[in-house]
Structures are given as C-alpha cells and as structure tokens.
Amino acid sequence: MFISIWLVGCVQLWGQSTGAEEIPLSTHESTQIGIGGYNLRDTYLSPSTNINYTGWVARVLNERMKMVRLADYRVSRQQLINVEFGSTRNGAGTAREYAGFIDYSLGYHYRFTPPLPGLKLLAGASARISGGFIYNTRNSNNPASGKADLDLNLSAMAIYQFKIKQLPLTLRYQAEIPFAGMLFSVHKGEPYYYLTQGNRSGLVHFSSFHNKFAMRNYFTLDIPVSRVTIRLGYLNSMYRTDVAGIQTHVLSNSFLIGFAKEFVAFSGKRLKSNAHRYRSAFY
C-alpha cells in the first residue's frame, strides 16, 4: 500500500507545473454518459449458487489527459472518474440486485515514437481506487456486499488519427489490467453485524492474479461536428474476484456518447502572465 501511495505521490509531483514553455500544454477532456448490459454474481449474497443477475447499467465517465514534463514530455497523464449504477434481476425474475460503483484512476503513459503516421502508442501504469456495493432485495442478514479496491494497473493505449473522405476521425483503444493491489472483503458467511462488535481483522486482502482478474477495454471514436467533437465510446469492464470464500463478478458492456474538447487551463499566477491570451468573463 505504502509503495503504491508513494508511487502515485511521486508521479503527481513530477507531473505538476509545466513551467514556462512557449506552447502551453492543453488538457484533453471528455465527459460521456453510457448505458449497457450488466451481469452480477456475488456468492456472499447468494451462498452456494452460481446464479447470475443480469440487467442494465448507466454510467458517467470523465476523462482528462495532459502531457507532463517527465522524460522530456514523452509522458502523458490520464485521469478517469467513473460512476455507475445498475439494476439486475435473477433468471426467474423473483429478486433484484442493485449495484453502484465509483472509481478514480490516475495513470501515466510513456508515448512511443509513432510507428505509423497518425498512430500513437502509449504504455504505462495507473493506480485506481474504487468503492461500491451490490444490494439484494431478497436477503435477510446478508443484504449487501460492500466493495473497495486499490489497484496498480498496467495500461496500454493506441490512438489513431485518420480521415474518411475529408472528415478527420480519431480512434482510440485502451486496455487496463490490475496486477497488484488490496481489496476489502468480509469472509464467506460473516455478517456485517460481526464487524460492529469490534473484530475487523482479515478484512483487507492482497489482490493479484491469484484471486482477482479485472480488465477494462475502452474504445472511443471522436467525430468533429461543426464546432464540437462528439465522442462515441464502448467500455467493456470485467471484475472477478475469489477472495475469502466469496466469488464475485461484475461485468458490463456499455455504449457511451459525449463530448471531447481541448482546453488550456490558466490559474494562479499564470492568469496574469497569460492575460493577453484570453478574455475572461470573470477576471
């Protein structure tokens, strides 16, 4: 845990302040909303079964990317905030499960020399913190399963710019896989009431490929339309754990739509020094 916090802290420090370079570094930002299919299983909520609950999931995904000074500006920083909520039911239609998750990830990618014109290849690592719940409407003393994860991920991205007729398009694919981290989990059969009695040992577990496999496949296509850039996306998210006798999976396939933009942020002292480059409604 300490190593990951230190790692994240260090890269954050390195990533601050772009100095007084002539061309300001812009921030790439997009916000998308999405909807898709959800598939849940949690054997804390349905012990000794392998029943999947299926339904829909809605999400909001915000992304920011920016070049940073590291390695002579060959590194970019990516921040992702994802909020999702889903509703599912069992095959017989007699019970519902609701789930909600929120996560934030901070990643740094090294940008390789483009192998082809218009193609950018990036690889790096990210840290993600996430939390959420799965709630079953049918249950007695095991109604909800809480989730909290802290992960270190491997991350790779390919961005390809091309034209169809005269329309410039940008296609992106990103894959992210956690390789080590920590997660919270009660033990199989352990009621949350038990935690209220003071014994909270054994709740935090080291996670890696032996007990957790998660992955995100993220596709986007940017289409400029008039003065805006529309972003179409597809997010395939997998989360599978087998920890403390509890098997969980949260799977989703979501289609996303939103807007992407580039902007240059001025704040603090740079507001004054760059006063000739903007017309503010506030300052």
Partner: protein
C-alpha cells in the same frame, strides 16, 4: 488511389489490432430452471454448506438427502415440489429456516405452536385499557396505583428511538418497578434489542459470543467473538425490572432476554423463550425460490447455544382459572413480585 488504399489498410490493421486485444466477458444470464431434481440438489447443498446447527442438533443431513431424494420426481408440479422441499427444511426444526416462493412460505413453528400461548391480547386489554401511550413500537402505561410501569413491545422490527425510550422512562419516573413484556415478540432488529437493553446497564459488559461459518463443513466456524454492550448515554433504569416471556419470544427477543438475564436487578418471568439464536442468511434456488437459514450462532456468556430457548428465573403460566376470569397470571405475578420487592427495598432503607 494507391495512397487511399494504403490508408484503408492501416485502418483495417488497427481495427484488427483492437479486436485481438478485445476481451469481452462471456457470462450469460442464468436461465430460470424449474427442474425438481436440480432445485432439490441446490437446496440441499445450500443448507449443507451454510446451515450452522447440524452438529448441535445432531441432524444427519446426508441421510435427509437420501430420504427426500426418493420423493423428488421429474414429473411433480411446483406445488408438490414446494411441499417436499419445505418438509425437508423442517427436519432441522428451526424457526429461522424458510423456503419462500411467490405462492407460499414453508416454516417450522412448532417451537411455539406446541406450547401454551401464555399471552392473550384480549386479556392484555384488561390491563392496558385504551388509554395507554404509544411511543414507536412501545405501548406503555402505569399500573398498580402508578407504582409499576408496564411496557409491551410486540416486535423488535418496530422502531424504537432514543427519544421514545426517554419519554417512556420520564412517564415512569415515579414508578418503583418496571415490567417489560416481550411475549409474542417474534424478533426483529438486534440493534433495537441492544438499544433497549443498554438502558438497564451500569457498566459495559460481556453479553455473549457470535460465530460464523467460515467453511463448507458442518463444523467450520470462526472463533467465538465476544459481544459487549455499553450503558446508554441517555436515561437509564436501575430499579427492579421483570421481563415477561413466552414460547413466542423468539430470535432478537431471545437475544434481548439473554442480555437482560445477566443484570442483577432484572428477573425473567413466564415461560421458556422460543430460542432462535442463529442469525439468518438467505440464498436462492435456480427456480427463483428464496431460502432463509440460520447461519451464524449467537452464544451466551458461557459459549452455550440458546437456539432452543432460555428458561425464565421464575416460571409462570397462565392458569385456566385466570383465563376464564380474564386475568393474566404471569402479569399478576410480576406485579406482585415487583411490589413485594420494592416494599422490601423500602423497608431495608428505613
């Protein structure tokens, strides 16, 4: 033209690259499965791996499987299957164990149905009248010329807030003793039981232990975790108390009695409680029926089970004679007991 073709090839290569790395989850929805055999096996397995009292109750669950397996036929309809599975669950003789479908709920209620009721609402009305107070789930009134406070709590599922309790104790501030009637209280939230019991504590104390099943074996349990209760920060009652119980005092009520009986100024009176010391969990069958079962044993301070109930300090039953007269023998005995006790305390003081 050649340039355009090259560009298109590059796009094609890129898309192929994406497809290679795309890893789409292939989990499907679990279809409704009405198969009697599959549902029988699923129920048996859920109980086998999660029910917590097989060893304590000396139930041979494998033998139960073999016996009931013969009764399960592929041609049976859902009602017939429900009856067979419900009977199989009743083998563990547990009021916390139910099979729940959209058309019925199987249950084992012999823990109180086979015993004298020892509580009658019609007779209770002779004492409460119609001018009693209601605060949350509490119904309360002063009895015996205002010397004794009486509160009836029908269900630990009914909310009781700290202010409800404060106002009740305020009403009883001049009373010398208190009767807490939890007869026919089938249980509910343990938090309500703890909230009320904490009003009678002088100091933090051990009230019992809790375990959970940490494996699939019948004897796979976690170490017993001590359960403590601290005194309330609100109004507390340290004068004599009698808790009235009957066989229908079950689950969270059993836990409440388990705590209250540890207190020196509290006397348990009436019939043995119904028990129900296993915290229930839920699961489900492939046909969508829900199953509830005892999963976590709650032990007393001696690490003994109270699944089959707690004996009162003073056993009392409603007599037939009193029943005909509209008298509640248990409540009458409690009133006499408290008045005698408070008289004795007063005499000692003088």
């Amino acid at each position: 033209m050649k340039m355009k073709t090259m560009k298109m090839n590059r796009v094609g290569c890129f898309l192929l690259f994406l497809l290679c790395f795309s890893w789409v989850g292939c989990e499907k929805a679990t279809e409704y499965n009405p198969s009697p055999r599959d549902n029988f096996e699923a129920l048996w397995r859920i109980m086998d791996e999660n029910y917590c009292f097989f060893a304590f109750k000396d139930v041979d669950w494998d033998e139960v499987h073999d016996r009931y397996s013969l009764l399960v036929k592929d041609t049976m309809n859902q009602y017939e299957l429900f009856d067979v599975l419900g009977e199989m669950l009743a083998e563990v003789k547990d009021g916390h164990t139910n099979l729940i479908s959209s058309f019925d709920m199987s249950r084992y209620w012999a823990w109180y149905e086979d015993y004298p009721p020892n509580f009658y609402e019609e007779i209770q009305k002779n004492y409460l009248g119609t001018d009693y107070h209601i605060a949350g789930g509490l119904e309360y009134k002063r009895l015996a010329d205002d010397r004794i406070g009486y509160v009836y709590y029908e269900s630990f599922s009914s909310g009781v807030g700290e202010s409800n309790l404060d106002y009740m104790f305020l009403h009883f501030q001049d009373c010398e003793g208190l009767i807490i009637d939890v007869r026919n209280n089938g249980g509910g939230a343990l938090t309500n039981a703890d909230r009320i019991a904490s009003r009678f504590l002088e100091e933090r104390m051990l009230t019992g232990y809790i375990q959970y099943k940490n494996g699939n074996g019948h004897n796979d349990f976690s170490d017993p975790e001590p359960v403590y209760l601290s005194p309330s920060e609100y109004i507390r009652w340290l004068r004599p108390v009698v808790v009235l119980t009957n066989r229908h005092s079950y689950s969270a009520t059993n836990d409440f009695v388990n705590t209250m009986r540890l207190l020196p100024h509290v006397t348990i009176m009436g019939d043995r409680t119904g028990g129900g010391s296993g915290l229930p969990f839920s699961s489900e069958l492939p046909n969508g029926w829900s199953v509830r079962f005892s999963a976590c044993p709650m032990l007393d301070v001696n690490k003994e089970h109270t699944e089959f109930g707690i004996d009162p300090d003073v056993p009392v039953s409603i007599t037939e004679e009193d029943l005909l007269r509209g008298h509640d023998t248990i409540l009458d005995t409690a009133l006499e007991f408290l008045q005698a006790k408070t008289d004795s305390i007063r005499n000692e003081g003088e």
